[in-house]
């Protein structure tokens, strides 16, 4: 099968500092794929490269069989890539429902009709409600997004990503800052999404969650690929234990 996403020797540096250094991996359609590593390993930079926030300095990225490095964010979204943000970025001054409606507007934003077609479309509203139901936010659909607690905002961002990411969804630490039962709910949501035919790439700090959820994992350290494989292989990889779990054991209590 063709991979849905492939990174081929991708590098990105900021002012001489190599944030991502010749990273390569490929993700098959229908996988739940994990991107792990200690703080500052370059995971979020990888996400930003994949989703087109900035272009890589070197290397190429293929999404769904097309070379996409250098394409801007809005083009990537149009190709069917949805994402969340580690530091949540809701549209704070509008309601939860409007946030999702905005994302469903993806089919309109690249046409001139965006000027004269109303966004008060009934079909789109009910579709947005469906998405909110999937993430369990129907009860607060009409609340202003800026007033919600972090857990709800993370789910809101997932709903937004679902509206856009018909092929691949990137989750950037969507589980961090959540309570135990929220994590369980979200885990089953991620599996549901995958079972519905989408691919998921996630960054996760919580090892237990990552090991339980992901089918394959890439571990980054200092911008480089340290190891990749199944959770079992990662767990028993001495380099990973040394560089990541070792450090983590000491400092991750916080």
């Amino acid at each position: 099968m063709n991979p849905i996403l492939e990174l081929d020797h991708v590098s990105k540096s900021f002012g001489g500092l190599k944030a991502v250094d010749r990273v390569s991996f490929r993700i098959e359609p229908g996988e739940i794929f994990g991107l792990l590593g200690p703080n500052g390993a370059g995971k979020t930079v990888c996400f930003n490269l994949i989703s087109g926030v900035f272009p890589p300095n070197e290397g190429s990225i293929f999404f769904d069989g097309m070379r996409t490095d250098g394409l801007p964010s809005h083009r990537m979204a149009k190709l069917g890539l949805g994402r969340t943000f580690q530091i949540v970025k809701p549209f704070s001054n509008v309601t939860v429902l409007e946030n999702v409606v905005a994302a469903l507007g993806i089919s309109r934003y690249d046409r001139l009709t965006a000027i004269w077609s109303s966004r008060m479309d009934k079909r789109i509203r009910s579709k947005a409600m469906e998405l909110l139901e999937q993430v369990g936010l129907t009860g607060i659909a009409h609340r202003k997004a800026g007033l919600l607690p972090l857990g709800n905002l993370r789910r809101l961002e997932i709903a937004r990503a679902l509206a856009v990411g018909t092929k691949l969804i990137l989750l950037d630490e969507s589980f961090s800052g959540l309570r135990h039962e929220e994590i369980l709910q979200l885990e089953s949501l991620v599996r549901q999404i995958r079972d519905a035919g989408r691919t998921i790439l996630l960054i996760e700090h919580n090892m237990k969650v990552a090991m339980g959820l992901c089918e394959r994992i890439v571990v980054l350290d200092h911008g480089r690929v340290l190891a990749q494989g199944s959770p079992e292989e990662i767990r028993s990889n001495p380099a990973v234990i040394e560089a990541y779990l070792g450090k983590q054991g000491g400092s991750h209590a916080a």
Binding site: S51, G52, V53, P72, S73, H74, A77, K78, G82, R83, F85, K89, P90, F91, S92, N93, V94, T95, E98, V101, A102, A103, G105, I106, R108, Y109, D110, T113, A114, I115, W116, S117, S118, R119, M120, H142, R160, A161, A163, V164
Partner: protein, 294 residues
């Protein structure tokens, strides 16, 4: 209505149209423009030149004027919007100084003497003056406000709001930042051009200094005072800043000081403006006109 009140009301309505345009740029799309008077001036000069040099009637010239202002907005906005946000503030100030200087120094634009002899608007054989002119400007204001209201309801407006709130997130859901910032900029400058055309026909004599940087600041003050991003804010701001000089006529020497301190206090303690959220006026407003439950 007395002639004096009519003049005041007409100027306020013209300013309100321009302020609504600025609000589309600043309030709806979150872009800063400090050169709005330049586009107001481009509209006024285009209208004046089309009337005096090309001999066109107001009605034939009006769509052209709006088009010209919008196109120049597109041309000047494109390079500025590509760069960082702070640059836009500075480039728009620059555009204001350049445009004023061009009007003031080129013979073709009347130079320091300005352009006079602009004819009256003829509507079905009747020369519009006083009430007639005011009615025409108010009709235009209603149309402009309808367009602004529509922007809050259509997808393009949604895209602008999303960009204002969180640009990265907006791009991640398929909104092209450059395209929609530019759209807001062009709509805003076209509205400024429309207001400028009315200004030219109302004054019947225009000069470069009518469109200098302080005018841009006062237009921005209208938007800030009334409420950035609200529908009625710019109109309220234009009315208040239109009435204030009359109320404070005895204190004419302290007028500018008073204005600027008012603007400072407003932006410092109530950046959302009179009609902004959390403002006292807004709460009062809501008590009179309850918001329908969603």
């Amino acid at each position: 209505m007395s002639g004096y009140l009519l003049t005041l009301a007409t100027i306020m309505a013209i300013n309100a149209i321009a302020a609504c345009g600025l609000n589309v740029i600043v309030g709806f799309a979150g872009q800063i423009s400090l050169g709005h008077a330049a586009f107001f001036g481009i509209g006024a000069y285009a209208a004046a030149l089309l009337a005096t040099k090309a001999g066109m009637s107001f009605w034939a010239a009006l769509p052209l004027v709006v088009l010209i202002s919008g196109m120049i907005g597109l041309l000047l906005g494109l390079p500025s919007l590509r760069v960082r946000e702070d640059f836009l503030a500075i480039t728009t100030i620059g555009i204001n100084f350049i445009v004023e200087a061009v009007f003031n120094n080129f013979e073709w634009f009347g130079g320091a003497l300005g352009i006079g002899g602009i004819p009256r608007i003829v509507f079905f054989g009747i020369k519009l003056r006083n009430e007639g002119f005011l009615l025409l400007v108010l009709t235009a204001l209603v149309l402009v406000m309808f367009l602004c209201w529509w922007l809050t309801r259509c997808w393009a407006g949604m895209a602008c709001f999303a960009l204002r709130e969180e640009e990265t997130a907006a791009a991640s859901i398929g909104i092209s930042p450059v395209r929609f910032k530019l759209l807001a900029f062009v709509i805003g400058t076209a509205m400024a051009g429309l207001a400028g055309a009315f200004y030219a026909y109302f004054m019947r004599f225009i000069a470069a200094s009518d469109f200098s940087f302080p005018i841009s600041v006062s237009m921005l003050s209208m938007v800030v005072l009334g409420g950035i991003g609200t529908l009625w804010g710019p109109v309220l701001g234009a009315v208040i800043l239109g009435i204030l000089p009359e109320v404070f006529r005895p204190l004419i020497d302290y007028r500018i000081l008073f204005y600027t301190i008012l603007l400072l206090m407003m932006i410092r303690f109530q950046p959302g403006g009179l009609l902004g959220e959390t403002s006292a006026v807004r709460r009062l407003f809501n008590r009179w006109i309850p918001v329908p439950a969603p």
